[in-house]
Amino acid sequence: MLRHSIFRSVVVLASAAGCGALLLAQSPQGLDPAMMLKPPADSWPTYHGDYTGRRHSKLSQITPDNVHQLTVAWTFQTGSGAGIKATPILVNGVMYITMPDNMWAIDARTGRQIWRYTYPPNQAFHIGHRGAAIYKDTVFLTTPDAHLVALDVKDGKLKWDVMIADAKKGFWSTNAPLLIRDHLIVGVSGDFDNLPGTLKSIDPETGKTQWIFYSTPPPGTPDSISGGATGGQMWMTGTYDPDLNLLYVGTGNPTPVLNGAARPGDNKWVCSILAINPDTGKLAWGFQASPHDTHDWDAAEVPVLVDGPFAGAQHKMLMQASRNGYFFVLDRTNGKNLLTKPFAAVNWAKGIDEKGSPIPDPAMEPARDGRLVSPNEGGGTNYRSPSFDPRTGLFIVSAQDAYGIYFFKPEHGSYGWAGADYGVYAKGMLRAIDYQTGKTRWEHEIGGEGSAGVLTTETGLTFSGDAANSVFALRTTDGATLWHSTIGRVGNGPITYELDGRQYMVVAGGGVLYAWTLPEKIVPPSAPK
């Protein structure tokens, strides 16, 4: 009887919701692009949560005093043995999580699957996936064979499918696209072939290409400034300043990867932080994090946007902990360097040039008999998203002190990898960098190579994960551990949101999503007499 009455009331509510949707002539699940400028507390509408890339939340229910009470509200099993690397997005109570070839829409209150979309089988590179993007009633998935598919938020049905880049030439995509008004910015990857660095703006309504930006010139382009380098793929999700109307994106390593002799000079614009006009695709400015890279250290890491004081004056800044082991602070209006300091073990630079770029030491280029170089190929950090905490001025990043041996000989040629390299040793540390000095204020050991992103909250909490399968909360001021749970390999960035008055923190352990919240305060009905 009881079950029956609940079922009936659900039916009534569902009808009412359907009616409302008709009256409003708008799906309750869609996203108005204007919302991206100030995402409400019950959402995480884009890869980084908002346009700044700070991954810092104002939510204040979970605090240093009560974080030890966190309890599992729900879990969601993808059923995949591969780990989740994506950050989920959340709009109107529905969460979208991705893995290569797959997207799931799940109820953010319960973890119940609403629908699942699976892309047709393909032989492309399945290295990982970063996440989804949403525009009105459409949610987007990039695919291993470098397509972009548009799905209906209501049922996951395919609306359209366009090719972003040619997988037969060696492109693939793991990218979580970035929505800027009516531009969907989509990046690709490709390191085993000499391919031009390609970023596309796609019309989210139709799938039509609006513009293409090349970080390295496509074949046949005269007057190349790349010195013959290809590559520089923009495979990570960028950030955006609506006031300056500039999209910021990091570019990947050059190809040929380890053969520097084949591409003399700085190789612009690989391993760089670029500012691009999102309406035209034109470059506004560029800053090169690694001139003439020969170690696979792309600067694709998140360009985090912060407004605040630097050396006594107010600045619109951009901060990046780059894969080459250096932390950069730039003036994001013009790309001028404010600070360059190492945040991890480095031995490859002779100094810093007048523009703030490290000067590569030719003695550390890959050689026939091997060079012992720090960091290793994985870098001082990698795709793992950092977080900026405005209250402490700390930039918190999953770092590693690492060594690798790098080889190149002319017989390796000048196509694709064009060399060999091997990791020797790595030690993972969560490091909290004071952005005004570049000095590490505290560090927290996380074991071997880290894999987790970072989230900070206004109450002074830092959430991340270690290499030993634990998610943890640290006190942001000093890195002391306040809570942990061993849930499996934490391979993505934690997110937080508030629904029905409860703050949730969602993170992946292996192929499972875990939603954490404070215990529910349930007042039981009075016991029958």
Partner: protein, 211 residues
């Protein structure tokens, strides 16, 4: 790209040495707890399929023009063995733990080329083709004051586990005990920041004479 999480199996020494799963299958079955890889309880047919897939991927990678390349033993012959011996006995501090006539006697017969180079820099991997890697020892002081010493079986921020003298696995939360770790590999880690490029190749040349 690359270096994101797991190792590239198409370049793995273990995969290169594998014959129809004799090396791969034990790793898949037992996992590698220290590297976060869980054991997989899979039927034989699935294990064979995994082995075939890995070898197939390796064959494809090896034939791909743009794929990662390899290192030959001949590439690594640039050092001076005599200077390497001096470094080994002197500035390198190698003799604190090693002896050319003891643990390293005949080393060059067991390991060559890149493998020897990698093991020289950091012998933290599995003990393929040579002596097993040194495992850290932990001394655990219990609240009662009792101390137990054993090889570290597992260690993270929150837990410590050892294999005790009788071969039993024992674990404790790190918050309840006092742990002292003696890691013989610490010297190798510290040396990574100290080597000059010449030191590296000289020591390698010297080790190649230990036959």
């Amino acid at each position: 790209m690359g270096g994101e999480t797991g190792p590239d199996l198409t370049r793995s020494t273990l995969v290169a040495e594998d014959v129809r799963g004799d090396k791969i299958i034990p790793v898949v079955r037992n996992g590698r707890a220290d590297k976060g890889m869980p054991p997989q309880n899979l039927p034989d047919a699935d294990l064979e399929a995994i082995v075939a897939f890995i070898h197939d991927a390796k064959a494809k990678a090896d034939s791909n023009e743009g794929a990662r390349r390899t290192v030959d033993v001949a590439d690594l012959q640039t050092g001076n063995a005599q200077l390497g011996q001096q470094y080994f006995n002197g500035a390198g501090g190698c003799t604190k733990c090693h002896s050319a006539t003891g643990d390293l006697a005949g080393l060059a017969n067991r390991l060559q080329g890149l493998q020897l180079f990698q093991r020289m820099l950091y012998p933290g991997g599995r003990g393929r083709g040579g002596a097993p890697p040194a495992t850290p020892t932990a001394t655990v002081r219990l609240p009662s004051g009792e101390t137990i010493t054993g090889k570290v079986a597992y260690r993270d921020e929150f837990n410590i586990a050892i294999t005790d003298a009788s071969g039993y696995y024992r674990s404790w939360p790190t918050s309840k005990v006092k742990v002292t770790i003696d890691n013989p590999l610490d010297a190798h880690i510290a040396q990574l920041a100290k080597y000059t490029n010449d030191d590296l190749h000289n020591v390698l040349a010297y080790l190649q004479t230990l036959k």
